[in-house]
């Protein structure tokens, strides 16, 4: 079961696609139900995957793994090579698995998609079937990216996300949808084609440096990287090629110009998915591929990327401030927020890493929710202009409540989720130079954190300003809501969706029960993660140590031979591996400053009695003397 579950999760939405394609007639309700049901099923499966993951796996490593041969050379080729080694040794396969980082992003995707689908019920009136088919295709692609453990598979899913979103924006978008979708597609494609070249080069270099096969197996590449297979120069080129694709996706200043346009033109659900999940593909790429495979290059390029991230944070915060369109403001705030993610990742500290991953989740929740609220507004008023909206708190108190909650979450109010991520990112960045967490000093430092922190202040300014304008003050509503929107929408002759057919006559009724049902789960999650982030942080940290900073390869080399040897102690409360409980052992590797962390024995106990304990002790001693080898 556990080896099948991820495949089921990834391809569950495709079952919905097939069902929708085969359905007869254009029964809108039925189509919507099938789409929502499929995405909910995918969510349930993802939840099951999470349960299985935490049951099955030693923390840190990849769990729920599955492999199916795909591009593997057969025996015939080996015979032809005449014993000159594996000439058919092409090891590119369908490999999936999750760790404590990707699992949360997987859950986020599976959580947001049904909400995005449910939010489209009233907005999408045209070409309904195609719309939900594309949404489900997009979900498959996103889930696939987070599960992929093979670089080519990762790339395939990463790239395929473009196609459904291109059509989602192009068909159901706003008045400039053609331009927005084409720009979005070509911009991100141009970058990712360079990433493609980098991926192929990585595979060749892996072959050359002793993998024995043209391999894109992520774990094998991580092993090679730890063994020093990639010299600094090669790392630099590969890093730049990866960065070309990921930085555009994040998006990093000055490559962010496609994003505000795409966001403003996209239908609400498209914006939710775009901000909630797709932008994370960029940061996830950095975190999954660049940092672990190319540590030296990451270190070398970190200051440059951090400077770009900080410029982005401040610049787009200022840009957001002067927007007159609510959606555009939130779009710019996305760029600013993702800058914090980048900063956290490249602080190369556990705190920063934890913060960055947490930030990805938080941003997905709060910004996704903000786009949903704005979508609700737009459906009622057919405008998003500040000048035409004001004082809506009186008209729509429930909407006002949600808008304020998500705004506060977005600006990082303590007690809500945003705060934790933001705090950890800044902590990691500021203490990047230290060795508090047992890692080698990171490339960033206090000045970076200081400048970036201004972005938080600016963030609070423009978000609250937005709230104030829209919710409070004298009531301003556009006259004759509905007519205006229809007019500008139908100029191309095909009405594109946002028909606003459910208008109740006077423009602004408060949120319907459906809309509340969509927003409430997100609000609850924001609160839970804000108050009790510990389980999430613990698993992120374990994964970061194992798969990003490779701090415990010695530990695994020793204990990993016996499966289950490194089970979490059952009695240990809620995955309680915290910084304080870790005993740090520094060891200088001959290749450079690689640092190993060994867990305190109180924290991790081998599942099987004395021999396990002995193994633990040996692991710790190996870790501490590891440099000698």
């Amino acid at each position: 079961m556990s080896s099948w579950i991820l495949t089921l999760v990834i391809f569950a939405p495709l079952a919905g696609v097939a069902a929708l394609a085969l359905m007869r007639g254009e029964n809108k309700r039925a189509i919507e139900r099938v789409a929502l049901g499929t995405s909910l099923a995918a969510f349930v499966l993802a939840g099951a995957a999470a349960v299985l993951f935490f049951q099955d796996e030693p923390r840190g490593g990849f769990g729920l793994k599955a492999t199916y041969a795909w591009l593997e050379g057969g025996a015939a080729e080996d015979a032809l090579s005449g014993g000159r080694g594996p000439i058919g040794g092409v090891d590119v396969a369908y490999r999936v698995g999750v760790d404590g980082i990707s699992l949360w992003l997987l859950l986020l995707t599976a959580f947001l998609t049904p909400l995005a689908i449910a939010s489209s019920f009233s907005a999408i009136q045209e070409r309904v079937r195609e719309y939900y088919i594309l949404m489900l295709l997009l979900e498959t692609a996103m889930l696939g990216v987070f599960c992929a453990l093979d670089l080519l598979l990762f790339y395939i899913f990463f790239e395929f996300t473009l196609v459904p979103l291109f059509f989602l924006i192009g068909i159901w978008g706003g008045s400039e949808r053609r331009r927005a979708s084409v720009k979005f597609f070509l911009y991100t494609l141009a970058g990712s084609m360079i990433t493609f070249a980098g991926v192929l080069y990585t595979a060749y270099y892996a072959y050359r440096s002793g993998a024995g096969a043209f391999t894109l197996n992520l774990e094998e590449l991580m092993r090679l990287s730890r063994a020093g297979a990639f010299p600094a120069g090669v790392q630099g080129w590969i890093f730049l090629s990866f960065a070309a694709g990921f930085a555009i996706k994040v998006p990093l200043f000055p490559l962010h110009t496609w994003l505000p346009l795409a966001h403003t033109e996209a239908p609400t659900a498209g914006s939710v998915i775009l901000a909630g999940v797709l932008l994370k593909l960029g940061t996830y790429g950095f975190c999954r591929l660049s940092l672990p495979l190319l540590p030296e290059a990451s270190r070398a390029f970190a200051p440059a990327l951090a400077v770009l991230a900080i410029i982005g944070i401040v610049y787009t915060a200022l840009a957001a401030w002067v927007q007159t369109d609510v959606k555009k403001l939130v779009a710019y705030s996305s760029v600013s927020h993702l800058g914090f993610c980048m900063l956290g990742l490249f602080s190369m500290k556990l705190a920063g890493m934890n913060g960055a991953v947490m930030y990805m989740i938080n941003h997905g929740l709060s910004t996704g929710a903000l786009f949903l609220v704005i979508g609700c507004l737009y459906e009622r008023y057919h405008t998003r202009e500040f000048a035409k909206l004001g004082g809506l708190a009186r008209r729509m108190p429930v909407m006002a409540f949600f808008l304020i909650v998500f705004t506060l979450s977005s600006i990082g109010l303590p007690g809500l989720n945003g705060f934790i991520g933001e705090f950890l990112v800044l902590l990691g960045t500021a203490t990047s130079g230290s060795t508090m967490d047992g890692l080698a000093p990171g490339p960033l430092g206090f000045p970076y954190a200081a400048v970036a922190a201004t972005g938080i202040i600016l963030g609070a300014v423009y978000m609250l300003y937005m709230c104030g304008r829209v919710l409070f003050g004298p009531l301003v509503e556009p006259v004759q809501a509905g007519g205006v929107g229809h007019g500008e929408r139908d100029e191309h002759g095909d009405s594109s969706g946002h028909g606003g057919h459910h208008d109740d006559g006077h423009g602004g009724g408060d949120l319907t029960r459906r809309e509340v049902a969509i927003l409430a789960p997100i609000a609850v999650l924001c609160l839970i993660l804000g108050v009790y982030p510990k389980p999430m942080l613990a698993s992120i940290q374990a994964a970061a140590e194992a798969n990003v900073f490779s701090v415990d390869d010695r530990r695994q080399a020793e204990g990993g031979a016996a499966p289950g040897g490194w089970r979490a102690a059952q009695g240990n409360a809620e995955f309680g591996m915290q910084n304080a409980e870790l005993t740090c052992h520094r060891a200088e590797d001959p290749r450079g400053p690689v640092v190993f962390l060994a867990p305190h024995s109180a924290c991790l106990l081998p599942s099987s009695g004395v021999s396990g304990a002995l193994r633990a002790g040996r692991a710790a001693s190996v870790a501490s003397t590891g440099g000698a080898q």
Binding site: V90, V163, L186, L189
Partner: protein
């Protein structure tokens, strides 16, 4: 040659007899029954394919004058015949029913030319085979529709084709002069042992490359492509995108075989520049086209550029499992042939009034009137774009992996890496114009309802192409191992020794591989 040896040429013989029979059938009364001739040509093609598969991979022992059967022969045979079946399907109906017999027999003859190109072991036979590919295509362009543009295209194609034939003949003459024999294996021996006159051989190679560049529509011999594609009817254009190109690349492989794939800097950079220019010119000019067929013509030029990258890598430059450029090229050729055919099949399955679909806007709103066809066309377009999950993506994986598989210490490593980057950037440029067609189909409102062309053959071809693109992505192994087998002898056996004396060598040739290895394989 014994009579029994003819058995080895069964597929070719079936094609010759079938083509002649169709010529005769075309003037009889039987031809008046609709679909009769097309069905019989399908039968001929299928029989040849069955004979190919039944014979399997030739072991190379057959004694045939001027022909040598190899793994390459097998690959070219089945691929040509299989794609040929699809082409006949597209060409089910002709502009003038009275010409149907000639038309279909020419189609079979041009396929026969491709088959012979793969087996030719003598330059005279090679030249003959290439001309057998070309001459029927000139006529097919003219016959393809009753339109002055078709005649104009045919004349243009013919004159430029004649020029390229002259270049090719001249170049082959130089090769003969340099080596003293018309046999390819004797040439390889002479060149390998240093007995050949190196200057003459080099001039010969350049002229042959020029002549074949025309067949594959590589810059600077690409100029005819757009006009000819535009002038010919879509079903014939589908043929032009595959048959001459395949023959050209196979001939190039055979000629470079003679030179043992030794790439002197001059030859290397010449092919390098041709590849880079072909990709870039094709894609940039593709961007500004408004006519779909012209656009696909430039796309076909660009795809030749990608395949030239694979040709440049060849079987010997790289190291590692993905390094055989010939494998990548053969794989890509198969994928390209089918996806390109799919795109033209889509164009030929709709009519706008009396006319063919020509402008990009003609396809507006296709997704709403014909969702199935639009989906299939979309798959083919994304495959041409090199987008997952389609076989076009895998084709690019193989080609560009090959370009990266050259060790960093190799003199050409940097050049090939740059070429690969030019290639992937070109893919991004190309995406812009393919995307425009996809966007028009799916996003734009319907302007004028397109009528489905009479007959289902175009639709069927389109569907087969689209399904094949997805299927080959999910499971590329079968095709891939065939391509590997076809290119293996090129890798292991036919390496000429001592080419460095000619000054044609950029690499160090392993001395344990002798020129005799080549001879043993090909004779």
């Amino acid at each position: 040659m014994t009579f029994a040896a003819l058995g080895h040429l069964l597929p070719e013989l079936i094609l010759v007899v079938g083509a002649c029979a169709l010529l005769v059938l075309g003037v009889t009364r039987a031809a008046r029954r609709p679909g009769m001739l097309a069905a019989s040509s399908c039968g001929v093609c299928a029989a040849a394919l069955a004979a190919t598969l039944w014979a399997g991979i030739p072991d190379g022992t057959a004694e045939l004058p001027g022909l040598a059967l190899s793994g390459m022969t097998f690959y070219v045979r089945w691929l040509t015949l299989l794609v040929g079946l699809l082409l006949i399907l597209l060409n089910w109906r002709q502009a003038d029913p009275a010409e149907q017999g000639e038309y279909l027999s020419l189609l079979l003859f041009t396929m026969l030319g491709v088959l012979l190109t793969a087996s030719a072991s003598d330059v005279v036979v090679l030249f003959f085979a290439i001309e057998l590919v070309s001459v029927p295509t000139y006529v097919l362009v003219a016959l393809s529709r009753r339109d002055a543009r078709a005649s104009e295209a045919a004349v243009k194609y013919f004159f430029l084709g004649a020029l390229s034939a002259a270049l090719l003949a001249y170049g082959l003459g130089f090769l003969y002069g340099a080596a003293g024999s018309t046999s390819l294996s004797a040439m390889a021996r002479a060149i390998g042992s240093g007995a050949a006159v190196s200057g003459l051989a080099l001039i010969g190679l350049l002229l042959v490359f020029g002549g074949l560049s025309f067949k594959i529509a590589a810059v600077p011999f690409h100029a005819y492509a757009a006009d000819v594609y535009e002038g010919a009817a879509a079903p014939v254009t589908a043929l032009l995108g595959f048959i001459p190109k395949f023959a050209g690349f196979v001939a190039l492989i055979r000629v470079l075989d003679v030179f043992g794939w030794a790439m002197s800097p001059g030859v290397f950079w010449l092919i390098w520049a041709t590849a880079a220019l072909t990709m870039t010119v094709g894609n940039v000019l593709g961007l500004i086209q408004k006519n779909v067929k012209r656009m696909l013509a430039y796309s076909s030029i660009a795809h030749s550029g990608y395949m030239l990258v694979a040709l440049l890598v060849g079987p010997r430059l790289g190291e590692g499992p993905m390094s055989n450029g010939v494998t990548a090229l053969l794989f890509y050729m198969a994928v390209y042939g089918v996806m390109n055919l799919g795109a033209f099949a889509a164009l030929s399955s709709f009519r706008r009034g009396e006319d063919e679909v020509e402008r990009v806007e003609d396809l507006s709103g296709l997704a709403r009137s014909q969702p199935g066809a639009a989906l299939a066309l979309g798959v083919c377009l994304f495959s041409l774009m090199g987008f997952p999950p389609t076989a076009g993506f895998l084709g690019k994986v193989y080609i560009f992996s090959g370009a990266f598989s050259v060790g960093a210490d190799h003199a050409y490593a940097g050049g090939l890496a740059v070429l690969a980057v030019i290639g992937v950037l070109n893919s991004a440029v190309a995406a812009a114009y393919y995307l425009r067609v996809a966007a028009v189909c799916w996003v734009s409102p319907e302007r004028e309802r397109l009528a489905a062309a009479s007959g289902m053959s175009g639709r069927l071809g389109l569907t087969i192409a689209a399904v094949a693109m997805i299927a080959l992505f999910v499971s590329p192994q079968a095709l891939l191992s065939k391509a590997r087998t076809a290119s293996e002898p090129v890798l292991s056996g036919r390496v000429a020794k001592g080419v460095s004396r000619l000054g044609l060598d950029g690499t160090s040739v392993p001395s344990d591989v002798s020129a005799e290895g080549y001879v043993a394989l090909s004779e």
